[in-house]
Symmetry: C2
Subunit: 433 residues, 2 copies
Amino acid sequence: MKGIRMESFGNPVSTETLLSARERALVALETLVSRSGAGSEFTGWLDLPQDITSKDIEAYKECAQEWRGLDYVVVIGIGGSYLGAKAALDLLQDNFADFRKNDTPHLIFAGFNMSEQYMTDLLNLLKGKEFGLIVISKSGTTTEPAVAFRILRSALEESAGKEVARKRIIAVTDGAKGALRQMVEKYGYRSFVIPASVGGRYSVLSPVGLLPLAMAGVDIESMLNGAKQAMASLLEWNEENPAVVYAATRNALYESGYKVELLTSYRPDARNFTEWWKQLFGESEGKGGKGIFPASAIFTTDLHSLGQFIQDGSKILFETNLVTDEKGGEIMMQQMDDDSDSLNYLAGKSLEQVNATARKGVLSAHVSGNVPNINIETGAIDAATLGELFIFFEISCGISAYMLGVNPFDQPGVEQYKKNMFALLGKPGYKQN
Amino acid sequence: MKGIRMESFGNPVSTETLLSARERALVALETLVSRSGAGSEFTGWLDLPQDITSKDIEAYKECAQEWRGLDYVVVIGIGGSYLGAKAALDLLQDNFADFRKNDTPHLIFAGFNMSEQYMTDLLNLLKGKEFGLIVISKSGTTTEPAVAFRILRSALEESAGKEVARKRIIAVTDGAKGALRQMVEKYGYRSFVIPASVGGRYSVLSPVGLLPLAMAGVDIESMLNGAKQAMASLLEWNEENPAVVYAATRNALYESGYKVELLTSYRPDARNFTEWWKQLFGESEGKGGKGIFPASAIFTTDLHSLGQFIQDGSKILFETNLVTDEKGGEIMMQQMDDDSDSLNYLAGKSLEQVNATARKGVLSAHVSGNVPNINIETGAIDAATLGELFIFFEISCGISAYMLGVNPFDQPGVEQYKKNMFALLGKPGYKQN
């Protein structure tokens, strides 16, 4: 971990406007830190890294140890209840982990969709295998995970018997109330608590993210340590604080008419990290007719799909690039006698060097195409850096939403479709309009 | 296959404007069909479904038969050289195909990024395994696939010996020129031709998509038949032609200020289909400072991330929903004695019914939030329907770009970053500014 650096390129906003945005960002930071703003009852995530005790960590690891011999651990959750763990897992494990037997059970995610095909395929996969369920839901009544849990619990009870099944279910839920808490009490499932003051999209460093990651053998202490250090430095009332600068810059760009932010990475395994980021910012900012639309791209892959638009299409977007400082050097381009592919000019360079050079070429090309760019530079991706990045984006998201004048911690707009759906499904208490 | 239906909801554009957009769309269709517009030398994809002969299909299948016993087939390509096959494969195979041994080799994609970690993990995966390479590149000098091919070819030659390796490489490339064609001639690799008149993002129904899909056991005849039928009906000069209506509707929305189109699906395995669509439209339209920014979402998953923004955030987007008519009925929600999860009201409904009902609830919610919606309805997803969908989007994309006054078939904007990158890498003939 070497600390986060932020740099802007091709920003068309005047220095005065940027400085005034930084002043506003500092005010927003103060609102966040003093827990005096809208939704302050949901700022418990500010305490998470230090509130997770070594006893908590021990408890997650014991579960992991006990389930080590299983083939699969199915993690049931949606939105903030799966994206953080999925994001971290993809970045920290082998790109082809699904293809082989590992020391730890394969983590499989479910309850984040209602596709019958997906569930059919999953039930087929689990047939004759040893598996456990981690069900993550604060209320226990969110439709997707509740439905998946009902189906998968039956499958587990059928295959392993009720008594074994009881030991192969862990609930991560509210400490006192909700349907899942009641089931824990009724059936004696093991359980971990999501603090009432932590909302879904800010919950990755609670058992929501940490328990599944422990199951997969991720070094969660390092992740928490990275998060702790980041929390200390990124809450500082300081104009150079990168979380403040990032929030101020994106807000100033938004005010200047840039309505879409494209988070990019040059690592294919960062795809789900960008999905986590999209939820964080989209749900926190997108309200009251406001907000930057969060989109993402993996480069160089998507230069061959979105690159044309970015370079030369409608001027509605700016790019924020996750620049990770990978070591590389394991794969060196070789000189070959036969240079039919005309690649000998790369001989002696590592693949990582070529990738990093592409990044530099893209940055200057897009800036010359009048696309503002922001680099967020970190050290190489490991558990600690990820802990830091989660905190960096959570803090800058809180600041950003307060700058926009919206509550960073609610999501009133997701209720409408649920009401319609419940009415159409005939759920008691809901009526069709 | 039951034909594509298109329906609009909550469209704020006046009927007059929409009708006039349809007139312009018909003119654009005529330009496309008569091959008289910009880039007409790249309209060879209009002939693809009927130009692929049964002899061609036989040849793909022979390769598949010969390689059937391999563990892996690595498909090397980027952009249009991998997205179509990946999109179709995900939709047609088991959601968990990676986790188990199948009758056919696992297809693995490479050369679509330059991540050293990805390549390191891939080389580890291939160690001690039997594998073949399909390298897809019209020119043979696109950096990403050329680099991957150089590395993987060496690995194959090392593990299987030069003579076996030669038989385990198939090139899909230009018929006459380019680096890869030269290597085919020099080393005697098997090869298939990408017609000169077919550009990358319109090439899925050429050997670019068909050969990998045949390797994975996909019914490519059905796919081509679906495409043929679609080509016949969707090129008709008819105001109700759904390709015309779709192009006209999205163009009218764009002219009214909607700058972002969100393609949605309720199937998690459609993620890469949306990526294929993003390349098709983004690269075809995004030029001259114009174009709709193509984004995508998988529901209900992303209702728990982007849903808030869509419902209640900046009013810059409209949604296009892929509505597939899945049969379902294999997983029925059960009545349970213990209704702790309060889901008994769903008893007797299939999971697919619940998913479809969510879709209806979402549509009315988003429309009431002033988000225009377009439904593109097809039959259940199978190879034929996919063939039809590919053609539907290709034709409507050609029409859309002509309506916008841009060339649907070039991508001049992707050259700038390459020039910068080559200069930074010291490629002969390129100089740093």
